[in-house]
């Protein structure tokens, strides 16, 4: 597991869109990525990811270490031939970069942008949206996901990302940003 390096030791960034922490996976890969001790200084969070895994599995997201079946999602995806929709109402994570699959080619990485809205609310279940894709010159896919974490509402203070099997490959890059509101 790799822990995100918090930027709190650096001068605060100006503006309303701030870098919180970044992880670049090193040699040997990593079984998971963890952003912890996330402050409540922002209104929304955004994850910007390029990643590859050693298998063809998705990357899964959990909040606050919750491993129970408190997650759901809807997905619209295209595989280059047809578009399809799917849903899962009770699961133990939110998956991104799924049916699109990951690259078997070492240099080809999938990309994903995940927005986590109103993450500090203690009144609302947490909703995510993601745009993800991996093209491999003849294969791959593109997907739009809406995820839900419907456990008893709590502010999100940690985010864990992990593949269902295998490891996250070297050079994968995970950056967490905070977005402020007025």
């Amino acid at each position: 597991m790799i822990l995100g390096i918090l930027a709190s030791s650096q001068p605060a960034a100006a503006g309303d869109y701030e870098s919180i922490a970044t992880v670049t996976v090193g040699s040997g890969g990593s079984s998971s990525i963890n952003f912890s001790s996330i402050a409540s200084d922002w209104t929304h969070l955004q994850l910007r990811i390029i990643a590859n895994v050693s298998t063809t599995d998705a990357i899964n997201i959990r909040f606050n270490g919750d491993t129970a079946n408190n997650y759901a999602l809807h997905r619209l995806e295209g595989n280059g031939s047809a578009a399809s929709a799917s849903a899962s109402t009770t699961r133990n994570n939110i998956a991104i970069l799924t049916g699109a699959g990951f690259a078997s080619t070492a240099s080809t990485f999938g990309a994903s942008i995940v927005d986590i809205l109103d993450y500090t609310s203690t009144n609302k279940a947490k909703t995510t949206r993601a745009l993800s894709g991996s093209d491999r010159n003849g294969s791959g896919g593109i997907e739009l996901d809406s995820g839900l974490w419907f456990a008893t509402p709590a502010a999100i203070t940690s985010i864990n990302l992990y593949p269902s099997s295998g490891t996250i490959s070297q050079y994968s890059h995970f950056a967490l940003y905070g977005i402020k509101s007025a």
Binding site: I5, A13, G80, D135, N137, G138, G140, I142
Partner: protein, 160 residues
């Protein structure tokens, strides 16, 4: 204090143009975002070419909805990255170019294009090169032209 999300360059066309380019892009950022708002003379694919690479090193997988149905298509081994579509009526094309300056991975571009009268589209494009991206050329399939007034803005995002 550093700025995390900042504009790098903006072009507003004063007349029609077949291409719009951003050159000498520094490696100062982590990600790039290219936002295009405009129209063309003929409905077209929106096309990107990176670092003036004219080889067949681009591909993409896309998905769109046209108000009636959803579909998915793919373009492989092209000499342009056909990410998104642009129309004769107002269209926006938002391109996310992540980790553009690394020299170890191929470059993946996520694109959303929106035209209220025609389609919404999501696309992922691949440039099979490990070179850092230093220039971006915007054009259309079929060498159509962007209309006067179309805007092209390139932003940079810095990570911690």
């Amino acid at each position: 204090m550093p700025t995390t999300y900042e504009p790098i360059a903006t072009t507003t066309l004063g007349s029609t143009a077949a291409t719009v380019s951003f050159t000498s892009i520094s490696g100062s950022y982590t990600d790039l975002i290219l936002i295009v708002s405009g129209t063309v003379n003929t409905n077209s694919y929106f096309a990107l070419r990176l670092n003036s690479d004219t080889g067949n090193n681009y591909s993409n997988t896309e998905m769109d909805g046209n108000g009636t149905s959803a579909s998915s298509n793919r373009n492989s081994s092209n000499n342009y990255m056909y990410n998104g579509s642009i129309f004769t009526t107002q269209t926006n094309v938002i391109n996310q170019i992540q980790n553009y300056s690394n020299s170890t991975t191929y470059k993946t571009v996520l694109t959303r294009s929106n035209n209220a009268g025609s389609i919404v589209k999501a696309s992922v494009g691949l440039w099979r090169s490990t070179s850092a991206i230093t220039s971006i050329e915007c054009s259309t399939a079929g060498a159509n032209t962007f209309s006067s007034g179309s805007t092209f803005t390139l932003y940079g995002i810095k990570a911690a």
